[in-house]
């Protein structure tokens, strides 16, 4: 209780309030400008968090991500381009409604369903994280090894284009994490004689390279985007929202829970939550014929799900140190930078930090209704921000940000190298986010693997000797086998058909 009060009192600090306001503005801007994503906004925030206390730093990251995921809905409705990938699932639906003159309702539903989804996600985060932290205290290196392996495998399995390519991305990230002194003998691996690499590839510049520079590159690869916003009066965006949301209250509950579950799954975040929520919405709808014509139902569903996924993603991040999405992958890096080790012990050692995260989710989502309204009002202005000036400016902030952590040009070089990796992968249709996940989870995976091996005297069966470890292990192996078995199934099925 004391910790809860101290968590709240942290949020009342004027410096934290200013942080929340600035972070909201940054999140809304990055979310609303097509091509700039929530992950990018959080990555660019990292150099600043270096100079902040842990709590304002975490509050800023929570606020930026929540605001950005909502704001992605604005250009979806106005210019038919999702502001962030999390709004892609229902972009057509929202735009069609705007064209029909129902833009006010769409934007109103967007902001309120996002806020409610985010609040629901926050509540689930509080309950699930506290419960799981108790369980996680019993975990040994075997369970941690399987948790990390499962997270990485899930990342590969949810890859949209090619699982083999996503697998390469994960292994590449893991390989980067092995650079530097190894944990068993302190032997320098893959350092090529560079003293600066002995401590490994610094996570922060690497991430700025992969999420900042590579995202700018993705924008430029996409070519010039020209759009003319549809005018929406946005005078009374809340008119009729209450009635609509009450009508679909069951949908919101379902999609909110779905979002949290997808968020908790490592590797899957707000965008996948939105796609799944839309698909289930169509399946379960009483009026499936209206889907695709500009129907509010999937907007309610996906708008709720993508914001609740954000809270869900923090559950494994805080409890196990395993990120639920790419945003929390960055958060884990920042926690380490602040000397806070995510894991069950953080709940007893730094409860005020945990409560501050919980409360900042609630504050950010409540403020979202007000700030979101203002952002919608100013949307014509935001959409006119010239991207061709913004992108070079972002590159500059990436450079200075990477430099600022250690005042070292070597780090800018690391960022550049990762930018090159990101560029090559991006051009060849390989997802970049799994590289970061591999980089974050690599040390956890290797440490727990080696500890387990040494502890068990190289007896692999002990990886399955504890019930929870066995369950996690079986799930992981099932994930590995899943691409093989359905295919065998599919082939025999096809053969039977042709016969």
């Amino acid at each position: 209780m004391e910790a809860a009060l101290s968590g709240i009192s942290h949020l009342a600090d004027p410096a934290v309030i200013i942080t929340i306001v600035l972070a909201s503005a940054l999140g809304l801007l990055f979310g609303a400008i097509p091509g700039l994503t929530a992950t990018m906004a959080v990555a660019l925030l990292v150099p600043f968090t270096f100079f902040m206390d842990p709590i304002p730093a975490l509050v800023a990251m929570v606020t930026v991500s929540a605001m950005a995921i909502f704001a992605g809905d604005i250009p979806a409705a106005l210019v038919r381009i999702p502001g962030t990938p999390a709004s892609a699932a229902y972009t057509d639906e929202s735009y069609k409604m705007t064209q029909r003159g129902e833009g006010e309702l769409v934007l109103g539903v967007d902001v309120v369903s996002s806020a409610i989804g985010g609040l629901g996600g926050a509540v689930c985060l509080m309950v699930a994280a506290s419960l799981l932290a108790e369980v996680a205290l019993q975990f040994t290196s075997f369970e941690y090894f399987w948790m990390a392996a499962m997270g990485l495998s899930a990342t590969v399995m949810v890859a949209s284009e090619s699982r083999a390519k996503a697998g390469i991305a994960v292994v590449l990230g893991l390989l980067f994490s092995t650079v530097g002194l190894d944990i068993t003998l302190g032997y320098p691996r893959f350092t090529f004689g560079e003293v600066e690499l002995l401590n490994g590839i610094d996570f922060i510049p690497a991430m700025i390279g992969l999420f900042g520079v590579a995202e700018v590159i993705r924008n430029i690869l996409g070519g010039e985007v020209k759009f003319k916003p549809v005018k929406v009066k946005a005078e009374n965006i809340f008119h009729g929202v209450g009635r609509t949301l009450w009508r679909y209250r069951g949908n919101m509950l379902r999609s909110g829970i779905l979002g949290v579950i997808v968020g908790i799954m490592p590797g899957a975040g707000a965008d996948i939550a939105a796609w799944l929520a839309t698909a289930i919405s169509r399946q379960r709808s009483r009026e499936p014929e209206k889907f695709g014509t500009g129907h509010i139902e999937p907007i309610v569903d996906a708008g709720t799900a993508n914001n609740s996924a954000l809270g869900g993603a923090w559950v494994p991040a805080l409890v196990f140190g395993i990120p639920g999405d790419s945003i929390t992958a960055i958060v884990i890096g920042v926690l380490f930078m602040k000397g806070l080790r995510p894991g069950p012990s953080i709940f007893s050692e730094h409860p005020d930090v945990i409560y501050a995260v919980y409360f900042s989710f609630i504050v950010a989502n409540l403020l979202m209704v007000l700030f979101g309204y203002l952002a919608i009002k100013g949307s014509t202005f935001i959409l006119r921000v010239p991207r061709n000036i913004l992108l070079p400016a972002i590159v500059m902030f990436c450079i200075v940000g990477a430099f600022a952590i250690n005042n070292s040009l070597f780090d800018v070089g690391v960022m550049l190298a990762m930018g090159v990796v990101g560029y090559y992968l991006e051009v060849n249709g390989v997802p970049v986010a799994p590289v970061v996940l591999g980089l974050v989870l690599g040390p956890i995976l290797e440490k727990n693997f080696m500890f387990s091996m040494i502890k068990s005297n190289w007896d692999l069966t002990l990886f399955f000797s504890r019930p929870v470890a066995a369950l996690l292990g079986l799930i992981t192996i099932a994930l590995w086998l899943s691409p093989i078995f359905p295919r065998l199934f599919g082939r025999s099925h096809r053969k039977a058909e042709s016969a």
Binding site: G167, I168, V171, L175, P392, V395, M396, F397, V427, V430
Partner: protein, 148 residues
């Protein structure tokens, strides 16, 4: 056949082999158990395997070359990396303000912003980041020939 994927897969295989060969020189744990080499070796085997899958998939006859990016866009995107490399190479000599303004100006012109907009914008953003990082966050940015 998709050439770019075949190259990607081959690259993964080559990287996997190179990593594996490099790990052969790593020391073993006392008692002869594998130590620092084990984890990278597992990764290199995975990398080779996944590379093979990508190569095999790229050889399928119906996978056409569908590079959906314009060649000009690919060049421009690559140029961003060159600009960053230029920054790293000259910032100590020219200092932050000049280097930052120049590379942003270069990128803006590349993205077809007109000079009379790009120049003040680049200079303004460079000054703003200097103020933010040097004055407020106290990051010592290289002063270069402007002295400091």
């Amino acid at each position: 056949m998709k050439v770019s994927d075949a190259i990607l897969g081959t690259g993964a295989i080559v990287l996997g082999i190179a990593t594996f060969l490099d790990t052969l020189g790593f020391p073993k744990m006392p008692g002869g158990a594998p130590g620092p080499a084990l984890f990278p070796q597992i990764l290199s085997v995975l990398l080779i395997g996944l590379g093979l899958v990508v190569v095999v998939q790229s050889l399928r006859p119906h996978t056409a070359e569908n590079n959906h990016y314009e060649p000009v866009a690919i060049l421009k995107a690559g140029a961003v990396l060159v600009f960053i490399a230029i920054y790293v190479a000259v910032v100590q000599r020219l200092g932050f303000l000049i280097t930052a303004t120049l590379i942003m100006l270069g990128m803006m012109l590349m993205l077809s912003v007109r000079l009379r907009v790009a120049l003040p914008a680049a200079l303004g953003i460079a000054l703003f980041s200097m103020l933010l990082f040097e004055r407020i966050l106290r990051v010592p940015l290289p002063p270069g020939i402007l002295g400091g």
